[in-house]
């Protein structure tokens, strides 16, 4: 599959989709040049995005990148300094939180400690002046979905972290919001529970069919849960795309570095062809399997994921692939895979991840001379 690079490639599928991920009509939530300044510091800086109906959209970034501020503007807890938020074509930014058909699941859940599980879920429904019977019916249905029906009479502090999280979800979904906001939904759970809950949460949201914006600093959470991810830094979107696009085709060093591990080579372009280019880097000459808009002499970076590299003790027969020779500097055994750091001839350290597909597979040891190879299609050219 030819890789395309949105930042550098002029043609192809990326061309008709701008950074905002606008897909033309049919947008459900339209955020337009939204800005929020705190004392002249822009927490969110002119962000535009269209979110489709039924989509799970993740805002990914490190703390302080503006993702939470953006979410709080959607919920109505922050007033935008400029720009607009439209839901189904109607402007919602002047509405207070309690008049928006939007519900948020708070980080660490914010369950009412003085109310039972049932009353927590019913809280929002009572505000809608629903009849007693219908409230009971709806709450029961919601608790069924999150499998907490036997716990209806408990207080939040009598539940485990995972159960509290599901109460919080049920409380949000009970109001049948048009837009569901999740603030670090798995942040308060321990690792084992996270993995399990991740899929559960995804399934429930998809089953209900609600459009969802989720905020996270955890790339794994974003990749497994979201249909589309926006990587944020300094209040702006750096890249918007499907998880595999973000991972396989990052458009800048920040995104490549933020999502997963990556080896970055600095270099200059030597030759450009429509379907490939050659870059002279600090790790040697690399053939990259996609064309770019720049010309020879341009300074670029080349990204290479550790798991796309193969190691061997003999020089590879296939001369078309990129090959480095080096020495294993150190290694780490992770059970599922091993990570090696290979010192290349030029001094650069290359990170390589080798999956253990066989039980008694061969492990490399420190100091061994090895050859590291990768296919041209595995490499991505980034702006320097």
């Amino acid at each position: 599959m030819p890789q395309t690079n949105q930042a550098l490639l002029g043609e192809g599928e990326a061309a008709h989709r701008d950074i905002a991920g606008r897909t033309g009509d049919g947008s459900f939530v339209r955020i337009d040049r939204l800005t929020k300044r705190f004392d002249e510091v822009a927490a969110v800086d002119g962000v535009s995005i269209d979110i489709r109906k039924g989509e799970i959209f993740a805002l990914l970034g490190s703390s302080g990148c503006g993702k939470s501020t953006l979410l709080r503007m959607l919920a109505g807890f922050e007033t935008p300094t400029a720009g607009s938020i439209q839901l189904e074509g109607a402007e919602i930014s002047p509405l207070p939180p309690y008049e928006r058909p939007i519900n948020m699941m708070f980080q660490s859940y914010a369950l009412f400690p003085h109310l039972t599980v049932f009353e927590n879920v019913a809280f929002g429904l009572k505000r809608d002046r629903m009849s007693r019977d219908r409230i009971a019916e709806t709450v029961e249905a919601m608790l069924n979905i999150v499998q907490l029906k036997p716990y209806a009479k408990r207080k939040p502090h009598q539940l485990s972290g995972g159960q509290q999280q599901r109460v919080a979800l049920a409380r949000c979904l009970a109001k049948r919001p048009k837009l569901l906001l999740l603030d670090e939904p798995l942040g308060a759970l321990d690792r084992k529970l996270r993995e399990q809950t991740q899929f559960e949460l995804h399934n429930i949201i998809k089953k209900v069919g609600v459009t969802c914006v989720l905020v996270t600093h955890d790339q794994e959470e974003a990749i497994t849960m979201a249909d589309r991810i926006a990587v944020m830094s300094n209040g702006r979107f750096l890249q918007v795309g499907q998880p595999h696009e973000i991972y396989e085709t990052p458009n800048c060093r920040f995104v490549a570095d933020f999502i997963g591990n990556v080896n970055l080579f600095d270099g200059t372009i030597e030759a450009v062809a429509p379907d490939h280019c050659v870059v002279a880097t600090n790790g040697g000459r690399l053939t990259v399997g996609h064309g770019i808009t720049g010309g020879p002499g341009m300074a670029v970076s080349v990204a290479l994921r550790p798991e796309k590299i193969e190691l061997s003790r003999e020089p590879p027969a296939d001369r078309a692939s990129n090959c480095f020779s080096g020495r294993i500097a150190d290694s780490g055994y992770f059970g599922r895979y091993s990570v090696y750091r290979v010192t290349l001839a030029g001094g650069m350290k290359l990170q390589v991840a080798i999956t253990h597909s066989e039980r008694n597979g061969d492990l490399f040891v420190s100091g061994e001379e090895v050859y590291a190879t990768c296919q041209p299609e595995s490499l991505v050219v980034l702006g320097a």
Partner: protein, 307 residues
């Protein structure tokens, strides 16, 4: 196998417990010596017979028979004499009114103090506790100068030609209530503030997010979550104002008979220690019994944790 281990553990627990018991024991000892013992003395006085000037022992031994004599006539008199019954009611009423007014003024005060910028809160707290720098007696006495017929308020109102005759404010329920509210307001504000400042503000956001207006959020989330602060404040105001003596004496009048005043009269004017003791014991019971029931109820329901 397990025995030496468990023995060692319990030995360790014992030494560990020792330190804890000492720390807890000191205030208990203090309360025992200075509250329980005097209370028992007063209790004994209230049910003892007298032979004119001396109180007799409850237990006496004569002719091989142990006599236990408990004199209940003081209590019976207390229950039948309308003066005492009315005074108790009036004390409860004024203490209750005082508590409600303190709550009505103190809650918004504590609320805005807790929600004000964190760097301004120490100054506001300081202002609340500032009155304690002057003697309580003097501060109560100062109200006389404000509320008297020739006091500041009346003089100003006359000077402004709003009234022609001074309004009678001193020695009324009005003057006493003002004095009580003034004196006890900080005791309401401080526990409420301590509670409200700890409140998780995301809960208020969550309520709004779920469709509650700010007003609904206040009544459905803020107030229930500050229940413990309200109760603590109400106790701190209600209990001492029930037995208040100085304020009714200085600012109250004939219409504001309080039990503290009656107690004083029994002890020092009538010199009827037995009756005075019965009045005191009844007053303590009147406060303790509802309190005990209340704490029992809270222990049963577990209260609201985490807030």
């Amino acid at each position: 196998m397990d025995i030496p281990n468990s023995l060692r553990r319990s030995a360790h627990a014992l030494t560990h417990d020792w330190g804890r018991r000492t720390v807890i024991g000191i205030p208990y000892l203090f309360l025992f010596v200075l509250f329980t013992v005097p209370f028992l003395v007063v209790l004994k006085l209230s049910v003892s017979e007298t032979d004119g000037i001396r109180f007799l022992d409850l237990l006496s031994y004569a002719d091989g028979v142990v006599h236990l004599k408990i004199k209940l006539s003081n209590y019976l008199f207390l229950g039948s004499d309308p003066l005492y019954v009315e005074t108790y009611w009036s004390s409860i009423k004024f203490a209750g009114i005082n508590t409600l007014i303190c709550l009505a003024i103190g809650y918004p005060f504590a609320y805005f103090m807790a929600r004000s910028p964190a760097n301004r809160r120490p100054a506001l707290l300081m202002l609340v506790s500032l009155p304690f720098w002057t003697s309580y007696l003097l501060r109560v006495y100062a109200w006389k100068g404000l509320l008297d017929d020739q006091g500041v308020f009346n003089n100003v109102l006359i000077w402004l030609h709003l009234i022609h005759q001074p309004i009678r404010m001193m020695h009324t329920a009005f003057s006493m209530t003002i004095g009580m509210v003034y004196a006890y307001l900080p005791f309401m504000i401080l526990p409420l503030y301590a509670n409200l400042v700890k409140m998780d503000l995301r809960l208020l956001e969550a309520a709004q997010d779920l469709g509650a207006t700010p007003w609904q959020t206040f009544w459905l989330v803020t107030v229930p979550l500050s229940k413990n602060g309200i109760i603590a404040g109400a106790m701190l105001v209600f209990i001492p104002s029930m037995g208040e003596y100085v304020i009714p004496e200085l600012l109250g009048g004939p219409s504001t008979l309080m039990i503290g005043r009656v107690l004083w009269d029994e002890f020092f004017s009538n010199n009827d220690w037995a009756m005075a003791s019965a009045v005191a014991v009844s007053m303590v019971m009147l406060i303790l019994v509802p309190l005990a029931i209340f704490y029992r109820y809270r222990a049963d329901t577990g209260g609201v944790r985490g807030v």
